[in-house]
Symmetry: C3
Subunit: 346 residues, 3 copies
């Protein structure tokens, strides 16, 4: 896609300073601007880049006073950050998520319904008795099992797999290869040491505005539902086991894993590769640092945890600082033993 | 699906107490029972819920004596837990794994064979010279490469990917997105620091009753076979490298990773996010706790390991208990140094 | 496939000793050789197996002098290891990567181009305006989004998912289920604690000879590119976040995770389950041992790191050696306190 500086300024209700006929074909950070790219300047700290950038045009504030000559064309607007974000969203929709129509062959059972203005990519599959909303974008190779419900405006990227009975809200995003609703890992040990599979007949519920990362896995509940509440953001390769509940606007970073029946509060942050044991409860606004392993419930809100096993972040940092010097600690102890009064034998 | 209480009682050879015409449309735990749901009471500890549950019906023992009035209809059977599990299995089969027939378009090379009573979902793919048993369920987007063998009754969920030459036994379950038989990670360093790929020509063998979780990955052997023995259960996002062997009825929880050529015994348990180095041997009944990293072989059976690097669970728990208090330990040592006889300079 | 010993010897320009009419249908290690298999002997350490192997034939050096009688046929060549590797590569190509032609139904937008001698498996998908080279192998269920570029000789295994705008070099391998170009995990916190999605409009660039493991995930850049440089090898289930750069011939083992904007040098090795924080720089030839977590940039080349948080490998090994004996250390300190001069109260 290619636009002139003047066309972009018009869309943003901005005023052009410089040559409005130049062509823009991409967006870039101001410090990485090259011919053909459009940048923005919002944070005054970056102003020096304005005078050296190779960008063809830069979005700036109406009130910015130039201290040096600039070679880039300027587009002056009320709020440069908001204008640029609007362009980003427009660009992403134009290039990725704005697809509409049906590519053949695509499979949809006759018993299922889907709202208007949708996209169904080639080789996408929709099973029996599904109810799918309007403005839904279903990329190629998406699998949607029987009796699934999906709200308006949700995007399922290539090869996302939605097991039967799953319920997905509005404006959710499920990235490529994510699996929603696989069987919980439940096996009953038998007297001979083998295992009998416990049937998993529950489902997964994603509320509105939930985002699920690429190749993440969310198991269905044994009975009832595994629930990801409104606005929660789940990163790539995260594992969420059966009957887990994730609170509103909680963030779970890549490769974290949450064991069965654990309930996580609202506004929590689990960093990358964190592991949580099963049947725990984490209070609202709990933060767990990367690679930590949590084995106990947290009742107090706003706690920061670190370590495996995890405890308070402040105490963990202090213990780790000494851990590095354990050989020195041991040497000091040995010297005391040798030079002070030797201990009695027990 | 909807049944009357009376219909369910008939299937279970049970006797109804209360209104047998009420309709049931789901199964639930007794403490979560609502109108339309059926629960069961096996453990006497849960008996109080019998008198307060909102469930429409509850399966109870023939011998249970009521201590209070109940509002739910009762279905009296010999063994409530077994009856309920039978219902769960029936329900799961009816809703998920009971599919039969072929949905078009599905691809199967003319040189391949498949037994009777199977399901091949739309967009499923079966390559050349495969031998696939009867009662096999192949969901949409499953990929089966050339010369693959699959035993009777195995279920492959949506988008499972089975590389050429793989051998899968009877009654296995491979969940969505799992990859079986990808190339082992083998690269020979060259004098200039680059790597030459070592061809991986072995395969993967899953014996009978093996379960593989969603998006798990199992690499083929460099030569010979990567083997998952009978009844082993592998959870979501687990990585199993080339030439690994997993013993009978061993359980590997989510996100654990096993490096190349490691052999794990029978009846072992690896908890979530565990990592094992390559070329190890773990004796039967070894248990490794979550997030631990094992770098040495274990010869004795029945050992419990913890930590990264891992050692005996009991010692690890004691060491971790003191780790938290390292700052205090250091302070005590400093006080001794200051107040006792100071150490000589070395 | 089946060949006679004589046919294989002819291809390798080798000389047969023994029965050249025997049939070979697989390759095996010499210590695992069975009837029908072909092995090789390069390392003198393995010579004893030559006299006991069950293999039908063994490739040996022209200069090898037998010390005992052998039952296997011999194929004498200049360099047994090189000859055997050539067979391995031939075998892998014949059985896996040598496919050519188009299986229907396959989808390719009319605006896209692809070079000669390629394979497009059934249910593979190629979007708009893609430029794909010659000798490219695209397995079933591969998804290639719009405006993707792929160089000659690259192999995409079943169900690999390549988002729009991705650029892939020559002779790359992307294993089954890998996701290239999913959205970076970027969310701007709002005053009410919810998150607004930051559009991710950059892409991913894989240079030549890059290998990506099964179900690995590589996010696109927010703006600009996430870059995997020439010859880098990425294992299964690895997570690479937005704007990361991986240096030439760097190896990243299974389940490692690299957070946003971190730059890793050339010839580095990250072992399994390693985690790296965001915005770091790692110098060339940095090695990080399994399960370690790196939170700081490394400026010096050739450093070995261990632990979570990670520090120098040597210091880490020493600290861990004492960690195990912390209970003993504490006991020794307690004895000193009891038997030496007691510390004053602070």
């Amino acid at each position: 896609m290619e636009f002139t500086v003047g066309q972009i300024a018009e869309v943003l209700h901005g005023a052009v300073e410089g040559n409005g006929d130049q062509r823009i074909d991409r967006l870039a950070k101001i410090e990485e601007g090259q011919a053909g790219s459009l940048s923005f300047l919002a944070n005054p700290k970056y102003e020096p880049f304005l005078y050296s950038t190779g960008a063809t045009a830069v979005i700036v504030s109406r009130t910015l006073e130039l201290r040096q000559p600039v070679t880039a064309a300027l587009i002056r607007v009320e709020d440069p950050y908001t204008s640029f974000t609007a362009l980003l969203e427009f660009y992403q929709q134009a290039t990725r998520t704005g697809k509409r129509g049906v590519e053949e062959p695509a499979y949809m059972a006759a018993s299922s319904t889907i709202g208007g203005n949708h996209y169904r990519g080639a080789f996408s599959y929709i099973g029996e008795n599904c109810k799918i909303g309007a403005d839904v974008v279903i990329f190629p190779h998406v699998f949607i099992g029987d009796r699934v419900k999906i709200g308006d405006g949700t995007i399922l990227y290539a090869g996302a797999k939605i097991y039967a009975e799953t319920v997905i809200g509005r404006n959710c995003v499920v990235h490529a290869g994510a699996v929603i609703g696989s069987d919980g890992f439940g096996f009953a040990p038998q007297p001979d040491g083998s295992y009998r599979t416990i049937p998993q007949i529950g489902n997964v519920v994603l509320q509105d505005n939930v985002s699920i990362g690429a190749n993440a896995t969310i198991d269905c509940a044994t009975m009832g539902a595994t629930v990801i509440r409104e606005g929660a953001k789940i990163d790539n390769l995260v594992q969420i086991a059966h009957n887990v509940e994730i609170g509103r606007h909680t963030v779970v970073a890549a490769q974290a894993g949450i064991s069965g029946s654990t309930k996580i509060g609202d506004f929590c942050v689990l960093a990358g590769q964190v592991g949580l044991a099963g049947h725990l409860t984490l209070a609202n606004r709990t933060t767990v640092t990367a690679q930590s392993g949590v084995g106990k419930s947290i009742k107090e809100e706003g706690v920061f945890l670190q370590g495996s096993p995890a405890f308070g972040l402040r105490d963990s940092l202090r213990a780790n600082a000494i851990f590095r010097h354990l050989p020195d600690l041991e040497r000091r102890l040995r010297l005391l033993e040798q030079n002070g009064r030797p201990p009695e034998k027990p």
